[in-house]
């Protein structure tokens, strides 16, 4: 619970100082993780799903939310290749499921990914398969964003015509 609430506090602070002002100024805010991360991570830690969603009801609903989906093996391999040691909480070592960091990471992140799948349907996130190369992913990402912004622009043009 304290883990969940501390993250919510941090999120509230960033929302009010870093997210809402640029939105008011008409800027695009690129958020590297959003409330959905909390939904999946906190639920994986055993916090009530409905409670977390209500907790974050003060958040602004994103105009576009994109989920980069990878199988658990891929994410484990990538993290292990990148750095020597897995972070304590990232590996879910606080859960006491395994004393082995890699094993614990697999178990915990597996649960996190399950939660994400649920969230994708519930909040209608756009999914980008992330096993492929960065170039490939970026191409898909740009396509999704362009399509979304293009719709917005057409709407604006229509508004001006009216």
């Amino acid at each position: 619970m304290t883990f969940s609430l501390l993250h919510a506090t941090d999120f509230a602070d960033r929302l009010l100082y870093n997210i809402i002002p640029p939105l008011k100024a008409g800027m695009i805010v690129l958020a590297d993780r959003y409330a959905y991360t909390a939904f999946s991570r906190d639920a994986a830690r055993g916090v009530d799903r409905r409670w977390v969603r209500e907790l974050y009801s003060f958040a602004v609903r994103p105009d576009l939310a994109v989920y980069f989906r990878v199988p658990i093996e891929v994410s484990t391999d990538r993290l292990l290749a990148r750095r020597v040691k897995l972070k304590f909480y990232e590996a879910g070592l606080d859960m006491g499921w395994s004393t082995n960091a890699v094993e614990s990471f697999r178990l915990f992140q597996g649960k996190v990914l399950e939660e994400y799948d649920r969230i994708v349907d519930e909040f209608d996130l756009s999914v980008i398969p992330a096993e492929g190369s960065i170039t490939e992913q970026q191409r898909t990402f740009r396509k999704i964003v362009t399509e979304y912004l293009a719709i917005e622009e057409t709407d604006d043009e229509l508004d001006e015509l009216a």
Binding site: M1, L5, A8, D48, W51, S57, F123
Partner: protein, 257 residues
Amino acid sequence: MSSTSLPEDGANGAAKPGNYYGYGIPYLPIEGYPGKIIAVEGTDGVGRSTQITLLREWLEVQGYGVIETGWTRSELMQPTIDLAKSSNTLNKLTFVLLYATDFADRLEKEIIPALKAGFIVLSDRYIYTAMARAGIRGVDRTWIRNLYGFAIAPHLVFYLKIDEKTLIRRVLQARGMDYWESGMDMKLGDDIYESFRAYQKALLKEYASMSDEFGFRTLDARRKVEVIQDELRRQIGAFLAESDTSRSEVAPSVATP
């Protein structure tokens, strides 16, 4: 983002004492725990801590195990809250969430283990103070009640009620007015006296409406310390006698009055 919620999702007056108000903490089931939570509410300077100290002594003499808990006393959060208060970077939302984190920490590490072990938890303020403060600062009342849906409904809630005039004299006599207690963050005015008066008045109104909502047992805090203490003991004594007969496992080991 999703905001369709029912009143029973959060803190509400219909909750059964000793159970979670709303969704609770799924990984910490508390059903059947023998301990009791007795909360003493009231604004600053109303005499809560004096009453709690006296109650503790009285209960311990009768053989009850007692722990005390109070706002911002969690080891995890106290330094953070103090720091944030002194640096003026808090907004009402982060303020509310920091308090909730402090409460969650004490709930998991102090209150729930004590209930499990059959202790009486004397809580110097409970979630109601946090809800009152948030309410007058314009935080959505349904949201804050849902937030505290992880809290446990106390067995007894005493509300030490006072009027603002008496309160002002007491606080000035005892230690003077402080920035947060005067609600200076709400920019009600530059004059600390006026701000304190307006802030405490709004708080008292908020407590009054919660008193109906949550069924507080209201005591007149303007009376003498001993008179209030006698009344508290009478009501707590009756409550404990009743629950001791219905469940023998919380029976006190000694019973010398």
